[in-house]
């Protein structure tokens, strides 16, 4: 399959700050890609460059086979992180306007499509209301419709779930999985890594303007095979006995459970057997690394920052994405 997006050594700086630094990226057509990384990592800047809203200082970029998205904007649907609606415009008119800006021909065909979509997301009654009368969640659904009405080949969603309640989150997820099944390439960016884990088949991790990981979810799981064992003891015994097992590097207590981190040479199955021998175990299992764990492991390797520091950075979602 061909590539929907090709980026080669793309760099973008804002004043002193290097937002994206020599990024190489290929997005396979038809793929469902997750861009993950903490806030300020350079995800939005990368996406804006793909959309040709801002232009790279250096490097080469191709979108849907064209040199820039300027020539293929009509084939892309984009839900930016900073998204809004015309507050005074009526929902139906707003959607019509956006679709026409995307090159959709006007007429009854477009009107019918808008009605169908509004019905699907349970907003049929709101078609004639002004956008400002809608709740934030409703507006988000309207914005989603605006970026898929013209049936784009490439769909880019920047933090699509922020501010949605669980019910609408599920609805949105279903809607864009449906777009994926239709054959659209989807790029989905988030700082909430478990969302990407649930959805994507390919993960691109970005940290401080650098790509730290670019692989399919399967490959990542294989590569980051469990190197830890999680033990729940019947009595509140400390882990001293377990720490003594050969092959255990260190024992941590996380969420009331003991986590045995293994060194690289040991066999997890052998360690589990020995643990059961030495302690009264209620539950014991291999600890599957989450994307967050993977991210931390990768970043720690590369930068030498402490785990707590990186975890705080990922979870502390307060830092503002640096605007273009």
């Amino acid at each position: 399959m061909s590539d929907a997006i090709i980026m080669e050594r793309v760099t973008k700086t804002f004043g002193e700050k290097v937002a994206v630094d020599g990024l190489d990226l290929r997005v396979r057509a038809g793929g469902l890609y997750g861009f993950i990384g903490p806030n300020g990592a350079g995800k939005t800047t990368t996406i804006r460059m793909i959309m040709s809203i801002i232009f790279p200082d250096a490097g080469r970029l191709s979108v849907l086979g064209r040199a820039s998205a300027v020539e293929s904007k009509d084939r892309i649907g984009y839900l930016p992180e900073e998204r809004g609606v015309y507050r005074k415009m009526r929902v139906g008119r707003f959607l019509e306007y956006m679709a026409r800006l995307k090159g959709h021909p006007p007429g009854s065909e477009l009107k019918r499509k808008i009605r169908d979509w509004l019905e699907r997301v349970d907003l049929a009654a709101e078609e004639r209301k002004r956008c400002e009368e809608l709740s934030k969640g409703m507006q988000q659904k309207v914005q989603f419709i605006a970026c898929v009405l013209h049936e784009p080949e490439l769909l880019i969603l920047d933090e699509p779930f922020s501010g949605l309640d669980p019910v609408n989150m599920r609805l949105m997820r279903d809607l864009f999985l449906e777009q994926h099944e239709r054959g659209a390439t989807i790029i989905f960016s988030t700082h909430v890594m478990h969302q990407a884990e649930q959805l994507c088949d390919h993960i691109v991790m970005i940290d401080r303007g650098h790509k730290v990981l670019d692989d399919s979810l399967e490959a990542i799981r294989a590569r980051f095979a469990p190197r830890a064992i999680q033990v729940d003891l019947l009595d509140d015994g400390d882990g001293d006995a377990l720490a003594a097992i050969e092959g255990v590097r260190i024992v941590e207590r996380i969420d009331g459970m003991l986590v045995l981190n293994l060194d690289d040479r040991s066999d997890p199955v052998e360690v589990m057997r020995r643990a059961v021998d030495r302690a009264r175990v209620r539950r014991i299992e291999l600890r599957q690394p989450t994307l967050e764990d993977v991210f931390i492991a990768l970043v720690r390797e590369g930068s030498g920052r402490s785990e707590a520091e990186i975890r705080a950075e990922i979870r502390g979602a307060s830092m503002q994405e640096v605007g273009a």
């Binding site: 809203i53 009509d74 930016p80 900073e82 800006l101 995307k102 006007p106 970026c147």
Partner: protein, 509 residues
């Protein structure tokens, strides 16, 4: 449809369709109507109806052959019948004049206004005081009572030589007044049979060395404070008239014959124009046309520019900007918005221009505005609009909230005040070196040129050509710079930039 035009269309419809626009556009003509029609009605409420007395100390001692004194003449002038007749005559005069210019309806309206303005007829008694009455004591009565309930309104002291020339009296005393009276009697007896010049000559001979003009006295008048001028003016007129006619009679002349000799019909000048002739308004009306042209330009440019800035800021603060930019380029967006707001400004210009032209045509003053001038106004409108639209789009794109725009707007507003300052010097002297230079300096040029164009002195064609060329070039530069600022600014949130930052953006990329 072209996407730039799609943006323009949305911009136009969403601006013109708002209540704010409709009200805003109508407010200006409404204010004009209020200023022209309502305010005079409100201000010129009817004058107070005075009921009181005018006390006269007549020291001239003059009587006409029927034995009537100046006081009697004045009393006659304040008689209810006389006042009513004057009132009617005034009404008729105004009506005739207005009818000629505005037609029947206007005349009736004017008459109603006048009737209101004149109010009810006052009720005034003219009282004679003895010649030797104490002036200071009589003055006190001006402080007593009410001017609406019979109080004293005025105290008039007619000097001894008011009617018949005599020696001016430096001091006021019973004796001098006595002598004056004697002198007058003599003069009155001497007067018949002589012509005016002889009488004066004789008088000059009598009082050798005294200049003959100074020999006539007049009157002194003391009035109650805060009396309406519509009471004061007639009083002054009636007094001078009474004394004048008394002097004529005393000099043995026929008052009516003299009046006939003195009165020369002086009709209003009639201006002859291509479209016919009309009565001259008595001055150059070009200044109103200049004012009209400048206001038109100013209001339409300001309104369009303000809307443009506001909608750009709204799109930013609504966060709809990035959604738009995923579909169109910043340049397309800016161009579309400027074209849309140009439509808005052009609508305002067209509405006001139509009102203005219709009004001028109605009053037969259409020739004041040449068709070529109107054409030039439209050309200069485009230059002024694009210049300011580029500035406003750039400012709007650079800030996130309307309030943040204030500091960047201040210099723009200062530029927009300049045409008002230039207005007077430029209308007075539309072809001075100063005016020529102002007409060629870009942001002010279009305003200066329409002011100059409205003047009587024609502006050389080459200057129009130069101003237009300079204007078009500066528009291109402004749009080019604005597009750069716009492209960077629209996605910039946070601290609003200053002018230095904006200039850096222009140099960037």
């Amino acid at each position: 449809m072209n996407r730039t035009l799609l943006v323009a269309l949305r911009e136009f419809v969403s601006t013109v369709g708002t209540k704010g626009f409709i009200i805003g556009t109508l407010v200006f003509p409404a204010i004009m109507i209020v200023a022209i029609v309502l305010v005079p009605r409100l201000i010129d409420d009817k004058p107070p109806r005075y009921v009181g007395e005018i006390a006269v100390i007549d020291r001239s001692g003059w009587q006409d052959p029927q034995g009537r004194t100046l006081v009697d003449v004045l009393r006659q002038a304040y008689a209810p019948e006389t006042l009513a007749a004057e009132f009617e005559a005034q009404k008729k005069g105004v009506r005739a004049q207005v009818e000629q210019q505005l037609g029947e309806a206007g005349a009736i309206a004017a008459e109603q206004m006048l009737e209101k303005q004149l109010g009810e007829l006052p009720e005034i008694r003219v009282v004679a005081l003895p010649e030797d009455a104490d002036i200071e004591q009589e003055k006190q009565k001006l402080l007593e009572g009410s001017p609406f309930e019979g109080g004293r309104l005025a105290l008039i002291v007619i000097e001894p030589n008011a009617v018949v020339p005599g020696v001016p009296e430096p001091a006021e005393s019973a004796g001098s007044s006595e002598r004056g009276t004697d002198g007058e009697t003599v003069a009155q007896e001497a007067a018949p049979g002589q012509d005016e010049a002889d009488a004066r000559g004789g008088e000059a001979g009598e009082d050798a060395g005294a200049p003959s003009e100074a020999a006539y006295g007049s009157f002194r008048a003391f009035i109650r404070a805060h009396l309406d001028d519509r009471f004061q003016d007639p009083l002054r007129r009636k007094l001078t008239e009474a004394i004048r006619s008394a002097r004529i009679q005393a000099a043995g002349e026929d008052a009516r014959r003299l009046a006939a000799l003195m009165h020369v019909q002086a009709p209003r000048f009639r201006e002859v124009t291509e479209t016919g002739e009309r009565e001259s308004a008595g001055g150059e009306l070009g200044i109103f046309v200049a004012m009209g042209f400048m206001m038109l330009l100013w209001i339409s440019v300001m309104t369009g520019g303000q809307y443009l800035m506001t909608t750009v800021i709204t799109e930013k603060s609504n966060r709809v900007m990035e959604v738009l930019l995923s579909a169109i380029s910043p340049r397309q967006l800016m161009t579309g918005k400027i074209i849309g707001q140009m439509g808005v400004a052009l609508s305002i210009l067209a509405i006001y221009l139509t009102i203005g032209v219709v009004a001028l045509d109605r009053f037969n003053y259409l020739d004041l505005v040449k068709a070529s001038s109107l054409g030039l106004v439209v050309v200069y409108f485009f230059i002024a609009f694009f210049l300011f639209a580029a500035l406003m789009a750039a400012i709007g794109s650079a800030v996130t909230e309307v309030t943040e725009a204030q500091s960047l707007l201040t210099p723009v507003m200062m530029i927009l005040i300049i045409p008002w300052i230039l207005f007077v010097p430029l209308t007075r002297n539309p072809n001075s070196t100063f005016a020529t230079v102002m007409g060629l300096i870009p942001p002010i040029s279009p305003f200066a040129m329409v002011i100059r164009e409205a003047g009587t002195d024609p502006v050389p064609m080459w200057q129009h050509a130069a101003a237009i060329v300079i204007g078009v070039v500066s528009v291109l530069v402004a749009i080019w710079a604005a597009a750069k600022i716009f492209r960077i600014g629209v996605l910039m949130y946070g601290k609003p930039p200053n002018f230095k930052t904006l200039l850096r953006w222009v140099r960037m990329a």
